[in-house]
Amino acid sequence: MANSALEADLVRQPATVLAAAIAAGDVSAREVAQAHLDRIEQVDPAVHAFLHVDTDAALASADAVDVKRAAGATLGSLAGVPLALKDVLAMRGVPTTCGSRILEGWRPPYDSTVVDRLRAADVVILGKTNMDEFAMGSSTEHSAYGPTRNPWDLDRIPGGSGGGSAAAVAAFEAPLAIGTDTGGSIRQPAAVTGTVGVKPTYGGVSRYGLVALASSLDQAGPCARTVLDAAHLHAVIGGHDPRDSTSIDQPVPDVVAAAERADVRGMRVGLVRQLDGEGYAPGVRQRFAEAVELLTHLGADVVEVDCPHFEYALGAYYLILPSEASSNLARFDGMRYGLRANDDGDASVEQVMSNTREAGFGPEVKRRIMLGTYALSSGYYDAYYGQAQKVRTLIQRDFQSAFDKADVLISPTAPTTAFRLGEKLDDPLAMYLNDIATIPVNLAGNAAMSLPIGLSPDDGLPVGMQIMAPAMADDRLYQAGAAVEGALFDRWGHLLIEEAPAL
């Protein structure tokens, strides 16, 4: 690539291309960071992917990369590459709101492990991205700071909860982003914005510094425009962390090598019977069927698998998640950080706590805290939380037997393409159904990816395919995903995201 062409189009380059150009000295990290900051300034007023852009810090860390390179230091695979960080991860000194009023003004005194590792890899963090409040939602409309808009159609939602991270990547504001996925919050936004998102195996990426929604389900992961970019980011943030007791003490599978292999020949691909059909939009089903054909064409051995307990996944999820969330969010009481409401000197500590939570939490957060408080109550625990845990075990068994027959499983990522802003805001159940295909993976703790497979003939909006792999076999996602991505690239001559309208 000619130097001038690269410079003209810095924001449209994949992370791997940018990193190579910076390492080769074709472009400075500062120029790359500045190009993205300019792009943010240009398009983010319309998209609203970011809650906070830290221009000075971004340029300073870009400069540090340039200094390192000048000194002849060996740079990491993503050194100097800009990244957008979901506002649910603690970053020292930088506002971290989780999309909530209750954390307005809080600047963490510490870095999350993900941020630690990004810094160690010389990734340039541009700022914090918008999200549904405390990651509760599938549209980013539940952010206390206003919704993010889908770069494909500004009247539509970018998915959620990590709509900001997905939109930032889709709008070429950053080549990489970090999302978190509790029930689909990386994958569903990736699907509706035509980008790639991966939920790693539970325990594969440290949760230290990830503000918890549901501890047993939350997992941070990469968002990118290409499978290989996602693999590099996954490799940077993954791996054991002694500060997270649930972190797996094993090496991360070689996801980069798998993405480079990009081969499904002989791979057994399981089509999950329960994650298709009724409830899925015709255009989604059509593109998914074509992707299945493509896999067969590429040499995969496609088989149907049965996961009979998946139909209970949504119900179990909406008991386990609120239960854990009701407890995790108890710490937001106005006593130590963030908002403190109506502390007039006469109010008791209980009243101040109550006032703060009333003023600081939005309706969806309150709804889930109440659901969870109820589900954990004495006398109801066994019927709700206890039963939900049993369902969880059954879903894990479904996956086990499916993975006896297949190396990876596939489904549409989301039942529909991006819906219009406001369309499901007053109907929580309709909103919850967006995650019907993504939730089983969180309940079982295994790994999954969403990648773009085309535009729906219904509305011309992106459709995503979900690939699921067993725990600690994250590399299979990348191997299969990169093969599909490569075949589609060959067919279209470009990435799907290139078809997004100009902003």
């Binding site: 503000v211 002694p242 007791s245 710490r331 006593m335 500590v349 954990l376 109550s377 004495s378 625990y381």
Partner: protein, 510 residues
């Protein structure tokens, strides 16, 4: 309908009508160097909020990681209390809002405690002095949890959060590992109930100290006891219980149980009913007053802590820890009392003085039990009290006691000089021989030197000399005393006496 208000009933009288049932919950702060779920230090008395971090302040995103040493400590405690150790168990969240708890939930254990079904035998003296009785206290569970922060309420009259002008929170204590030891109901102890409660807590304290898992200082709150008490008439079902908190000394354990029995008997006597509640014990007045009412049981919404992996101690490790459990202190005490030929009273005074381990070590080094007791419960205890330190802190080794006793036996020094020798050792002048050399100590046994002193004394007190010559042997004491004074105690008084009498040609009548 009676309008009588309940009267306090005399303890002995109360026991004629009611049987007490006890339940004791003891909290022990572990002496680990770091907190239960983070690396913060646990030292007592640091300036407020200086031993805190994102984890123990419950900063958003911070996660707990369990302290392995705390797990080891509780397993050793469980083994010392003859408990079963769970092969697999989980921590649980106990949810409730209170500003001393940063997360607004406490990480504790609920239905999967790590230690279950143990016991502890305690011995109490019978009130009529006729002997002792050993009572087996069944242990329901021993579980691990974290301590809360400490609230200080300013202004207001109650000293509680309600009514205070403002409250200060110190999170230094938040997250310190805490072990809760819960007994099964203790029945059938009758009039011994208060003494049994005290003896149980004392025995637990001794065990924890012996295990080295906690400094078990009740006054600093590292050992805390809640006493559940109920009364019932013989043959009736158990009564409603109250839970008395704020019991901060062994003596208070006994007094609180006694006081609650006397109070409840008064209520029951007039047909009243006991309110299930938390009560506070007041050291000054010796009575309990009502605290938080527990009529509406709080719903803590317990569920397994999802941020922590289950505790699954390796069985080989547990067996290895079993090998580190020392003999139960009370069992060891009665064994040693037998070996040393002393009674329970003498043993208790050694224990109370804090010198039992020192005596034991000296005996093990070869000193006779009587001599070891003589020094540690006598001169050395006096010196340590004078210095305001623990006897164990004196720089006196068992080998020093061995050497001093050898020197006494050989006649080199006497008991009086031995005290000077110890003074030298404690002052850092070296071992016994070095002190003797440096200070020129040693019994004067040179006859001619003594004779000079005797003759001088006789010359100074001619009347006394005359009396002795006249057969009044008892008068010899005055001369012996003068000689001892002249030799600054470095003479053997017996030897002086016999030299004196021989010199005067008087037969010793003694």
């Amino acid at each position: 309908m009676t309008t009588t208000t309940p009267q306090i009933v005399d303890f002995d009288e109360a026991l004629t009508r009611y049987e007490p049932v006890l339940g004791l919950e003891v909290h022990v702060e572990l002496g680990t160097e770091s907190k239960m779920f983070c690396a913060c230090p646990t030292a007592f008395g640091a300036p407020p909020n200086t031993q805190v971090c994102p984890v123990c302040l419950a900063m958003p995103g911070a996660l707990p990681v369990i302290n392995e040493r705390a797990v080891e400590s509780i397993i050793r405690m469980g083994l010392a209390l003859h408990c079963d150790i769970a092969e697999w168990c989980r921590m649980a969240r106990k949810n409730y809002f209170y500003p001393d708890m940063p997360k607004n939930f406490q990480i504790s254990q609920y239905d999967e405690p790590i230690c279950t079904d143990g016991y502890l035998d305690v011995t109490v003296p019978l009130p009529d002095g006729s002997g002792t009785k050993t009572v087996r206290i069944e242990i329901e569970r021993v579980h691990l949890e974290e301590d809360t922060g400490k609230l200080t309420h300013a202004g207001g009259s109650t000293g509680r959060i309600h009514g205070a002008d403002y409250s200060l929170v110190d999170y230094n204590r938040a997250g310190i590992p805490l072990v809760e030891i819960v007994t099964k109901p203790i029945v059938g102890t009758g009039e011994l109930a208060p003494a049994v409660a005290k003896a149980y807590v004392a025995e637990l304290r001794d065990i924890m100290r012996e295990l080295g898992v906690s400094d078990v200082k009740m006054e600093e709150g590292s050992l805390r006891c809640d006493a559940n008490v109920s009364l019932n008439r013989p043959g009736d079902d158990w009564g409603t219980r109250t839970e008395t908190k704020n019991v901060n000394s062994l003596r208070s354990v006994e007094r609180a149980v006694r006081s609650e029995i006397e109070r409840q008997a008064g209520v029951l006597d007039i047909g009243g009913s006991i309110t299930q509640e938390t009560r506070h014990f007041h050291e000054d007045t010796g009575v309990t007053t009502p605290g938080r009412s527990k009529e509406q049981a709080e719903d803590y919404r317990y569920f397994p802590e999802p941020d922590l992996v289950p505790i699954a101690p390796d069985q080989a490790w547990v067996e290895q820890l079993r090998g580190t459990i020392p003999e139960q202190p009370s069992v060891r005490r009665s064994r040693l009392a037998d070996e040393w030929g002393i009674g329970a009273f003498e043993m208790e005074s050694l224990v109370n003085a804090g010198v039992l381990p020192l005596v034991e070590a000296s005996v093990a080094a070869g000193v006779g039990p009587d001599a070891a007791r003589k020094w540690w419960a006598g001169e050395l205890l006096r010196v340590s009290n004078e210095k305001g330190i623990d006897p164990a802190e004196l720089p006196v080794a068992p080998a020093d006691i061995v050497r001093v006793e050898e020197l006494i036996d050989s006649g080199t020094i006497n008991d009086k000089l031995a005290r000077t020798v110890f003074d030298g050792i404690i002052s850092g002048e070296g071992d016994a021989d070095a002190v003797i050399a440096a200070r020129g100590l040693a019994v004067v046994s040179d006859d001619s030197a003594l004779m000079v002193a005797i003759e001088r004394a006789l010359a100074e007190q001619p009347d006394v000399a005359e009396k002795i010559r006249g057969g009044k042997v008892a008068a010899a004491g005055a001369i012996v005393g003068a000689v001892m004074k002249a030799t600054r105690g470095q003479a053997d008084a017996g030897k002086v006496r016999s030299l004196l009498l021989a010199h005067l040609g008087v037969e010793d009548a003694q």
